[in-house]
Symmetry: D2
Subunit: 357 residues, 4 copies
């Protein structure tokens, strides 16, 4: 089960220190102009080594598109792509080979499969998400033709949180700093905190906020594949995510219905709502308002400190991870959140076309 | 897309005021003893009219199993079931027929399908979840043979929240009060609040906490169908849910990795963790510890008050809902949360059997 | 895996002598006028007891639609339906309870599930196909709005075969005789043969030919879900089917490419082919010409004769089936072939809508 | 929809003259020893240029495995693979660019997608089947551990057919001649015919027979995904296939049930059948006997002759294909039939594991 989506469907493969990672995008609509530079740029946004805040692993991460395009356009056939690993040196992981790092997937993979590729976490590495960025970039290119825009940003790192909502910032500015927060002042405090955490060999969590604008009313399956349920599953499928909420979210539970209802009215011949506590989705179906959501990322467990754990035989051991790790995954998670959201929206857009003859 | 699950798979049908609701459970393992009384009891837990806190709609909600059983055991063939609606009187909805209730699915269904059954919300009614309780009860019967137990309870109503975690209470006591909170004193305060809200013609939200005990290590697909991602999608697919978190959840984002790591150790020949911030899942795969999660329910939008909205033509109108509504959905949502969780775990248990020859 | 189709998707349940059979149709496009009398008529075409040539089992087979319709139209929500078994008397099967009838599914079900409902074959009974006729009728109603017509007829019974192809007959005449062959003279010979076979307590096989007219060019997935591959899987999923061919079929293998090519030309502004050896499908995708195919049905194994076999313990036994059986399934298979074909075409029509934004 | 299978699932990508072809195998059981040389050998069996009877296209067709293996064994994670096209020179196709070759997929792709890669048929080329051979080889390696063997051979070319059934020949000898027929004398006559047809710039069809030995009783879903239905869909998804039959097939329709029944008996403590008209499948589920089937391949439409057709604007044109084509696809189709059959059986083996707790 390494596929995601129903009509627009991504299947990924690859391990952190194997030969290559990549995937197949099935269901890309035909005739879309595909800008390969844009895909590479999206991929570059999650590349290691792009700033001092993230893993210094040296990888060019060049995507090679193998099929599905002809004369610059999608043909409707599957788009295969591959990113070769340049850095396959796994010597940093030799000493972890026989032990289970705390809060990592080492133990659970070993139990599940009876065999595991211990090098850099193997398949459990967040490096797998590069394939999602490629597929997300393709989805974005299609959504762009529909006037739909997907945007995410870092809204909290540790205890440092933006005070405003998504509409209070110029989100295009998020790319101006390496933590991807649209408010420069808050961004600086976040970066300072990450630097401090990094210096301590520790890690820190945070929240990414996502916004989708321009979604027409009517997208989403009303029962099990509600638009927000598919968005939630998409986000919870990203490494290190511990929670998802949309619209009023967890905060909304303490209010009364009379405080949270979004009343309808007409505006410019179009149905709009006076407020948007619903987060753009009602009954699982988009209502044409902005969709916004928040995704909680835990502090990742790879500390550059001595950790006590057990080995494969159950003996207590002390490990000290080396290698290249992110003190905070938020900056590199932002493009992954966008990619997953773009795939979900495009998939629902295409599914919705089947509701009528 | 009215199906849920991969191997153990539920497909539902039915509308609030139509002839009947029901479904088909495909993939029930063969040879499981099926106690029909237990299924009915589970269904009774979400029935309207069971207390003064919930909708007074008069429905016996008798489930009729139509297939898939033989001499008291599952045969491995699909289990069809139906619950006939006794109360099909939709006169309470006639006056809402042409207008869009705020924060309801009326508008989005109309846009999506171009036609909608306005009676009691039609397909968008939470009445659809009775089919999930039937399927969940079947899943529970199978899980019981594996020693896996699924349990949920109301942990918050409006601002009133339990102060402890799931391990601080005797969860079996949740059924002793009508709000399904395991702490009698907190339960009373929750019930008082709901009564007050009800008297005001208003509604209130809350949080349901779920716990799954006895899950063996190894369940969950590591990438897109992580165990917690499928749980999250299951919960987000329940009416009125706005958020899902598991393990350390949103709170965990402010801590450092060194504070949140769950170190492994051996206990009675078994790998356990010293703490459980991970919530029983690592890398998307169960690690054998308790799985716990929280689900946010909004205050539902059906107020017994005058509401200003628009009709199908865009004209402003005032509606005043009548009919039978829940001032707080939490008490009746608890069995639905359990049902969905049970289905997810059984489905993953069965999928996991395919990982080896 | 009791579901069929991708977008237009049928899930069935029910056993021959259980409480009821039925199913859920998911993905019916919204807004289609649904004529319930037509659905019942389609179901009546496969009902037992309709002539002396088929099983005399007494069943009214009344379909009850439980959801998904509103004011005579499909709403886009799932259509649940049920057909209660009137005749649940299974005493004719008591003596077969512990033994494996030759060429039946008794043995294979017992091995697969470890438990089986022996009454009338349980789930393996062709009675399950009544659910397909209901779903097929719904599909036909949608296809009718697109000008697509699905038609099948008996073209061979034992050695008696029609000499012409589908275009040589007025297919509407197939319903004028109980064997459903459009040529009255051949039909009479077929019926005489079936009567003779029946008198001998034996059974006989045959071929059903299917024709689909009005399919626009462009339907079908080009690789694994070729239009003809999905049609083939649909037909091979009908009880007693042993083979499927379309267009030139098995006969075509002895010819040369130069004899079998279908050259293109324009006719009335439309691309047509001079011949149609391709059977309306090229590269897995419809080309706008008639689609035609042939389905081989074996002589069913339930003979009213003494049969030597083994019981569940492996002891040799002699069984003599009683009960109500068809000496030739062809007449009642014709509507099932039509139903399955209609579902496949509608499903592909809807899938094809997703190929472009 | 470029994926095949449920648990063991292949997704393919790639065009005839694009950068590369390849795919992802998801669901390979963990811990299987993977012999990469064997995979390459299987791929070599369908390579062009291996004899004078087949297309002389120069392609090394080296498969590169990119993921999913560790220290020689499958890890349970997806196996990505790629085969780069060496020969991307498409100049032989320039003159066909704007016209629709008769009985090819040129026209149907153009209608479906509005854009097509005309070079060598693009995605519609049988070159796509190389990915199936890779996946099939992986499936064979898993099946080998279960004692299941899949074998196919050419049983008919044009009018020249083997007189015996599969049990009358030593099938291992099929690889001794380039037409892959196990009877040397018949093979010679087939090869002579193909040479004659080739010299005439023409093509010829034929039949491939498949045999699967060692399948345990119990595999197959009883209703829609009958074992033989999935086999049929697999075969009908291979380029140029026009028909599929198993067991008694089309021939069986003329016999009576009393002639075709397979009576059960015990042999060495195991249930066997006296005859095997059923072809190893009863009620859609394997019964432990040999599974055998026949697949009809049409004479492919690419003739090295002048052909009259139309161009994209509907104007009549004469085309004369050049390039590298097979006068008869049977020899290279044999490994593809085996590959598809192996995938189906392994997939059903794994699905069957989910029928019990």
């Amino acid at each position: 089960m390494n596929s995601f989506g129903n009509i627009f469907r991504l299947t990924t493969f690859g391990e952190s220190h194997g030969r290559a990672l990549g995937g197949v995008v099935d269901g890309m609509p035909a005739g879309i102009a595909v800008d390969i530079d844009f895909i590479q740029q999206e991929l570059d946004r999650r590349r290691p080594g792009q700033s001092l805040l993230v893993s210094p692993r040296k990888e060019g991460d060049r995507v090679e598109i193998l099929s599905g395009l002809f004369e610059g356009r999608s043909t409707g056939t599957p788009i295969g792509f591959v990113v070769y690993n340049q850095n396959q040196d796994s010597s940093d992981y030799e000493h972890l080979k026989a032990c289970y790092r705390p809060s990592h997937a080492d133990f659970t993979y070993a139990v599940k499969y009876g065999i595991r590729d211990y090098r850099g976490g193997g398949r459990s590495s967040a490096r797998e998400t590069l394939s999602r960025c490629v597929a997300g970039a393709l989805a974005k290119l299609a959504l762009r033709e529909l006037g739909i825009e997907v945007c995410a940003y870092t809204s909290q790192v540790g205890p440092i949180a933006l005070s405003g909502g998504y509409a209070d910032y110029d989100l295009s500015r998020r790319e101006e700093n390496s933590v991807r927060c649209p408010d420069p002042e808050t961004a600086q405090r976040m970066m300072d905190l990450i630097s401090e955490v990094k210096a301590a060999g520790d890690t820190i969590g945070g929240v990414v906020t996502g916004v989708i604008r321009g979604v027409p009313a009517g997208l989403g399956e009303p029962v099990f594949n509600k638009l927000h349920a598919d968005l939630g599953a998409a986000m919870l499928g990203i490494n290190a995510v511990k929670g998802f909420e949309y619209g009023m979210g967890f905060d909304g539970v303490q209010y009364r219905g009379s405080q949270m209802n979004d009343s309808f009215r007409m505006e410019g011949g179009r149905v709009v709502t006076a407020t948007n506590h619903s987060g753009g989705v009602q009954g699982g179906i988009s209502n044409g308002q902005d969709i916004y959501f928040r995704v909680a990322f835990k502090p990742v467990p790879t500390l550059l400190q001595e950790l006590s754990t057990i080995d494969e035989k159950g003996n207590p051991v002390i490990v000290k991870p080396r290698g290249r790790h992110d003190p905070c995954v938020l900056p590199r998670a932002v493009p992954v959140v966008e990619a997953m959201a773009a795939m979900v929206v495009l998939d629902h857009y295409l599914m919705n076309k089947t509701k009528h003859l």
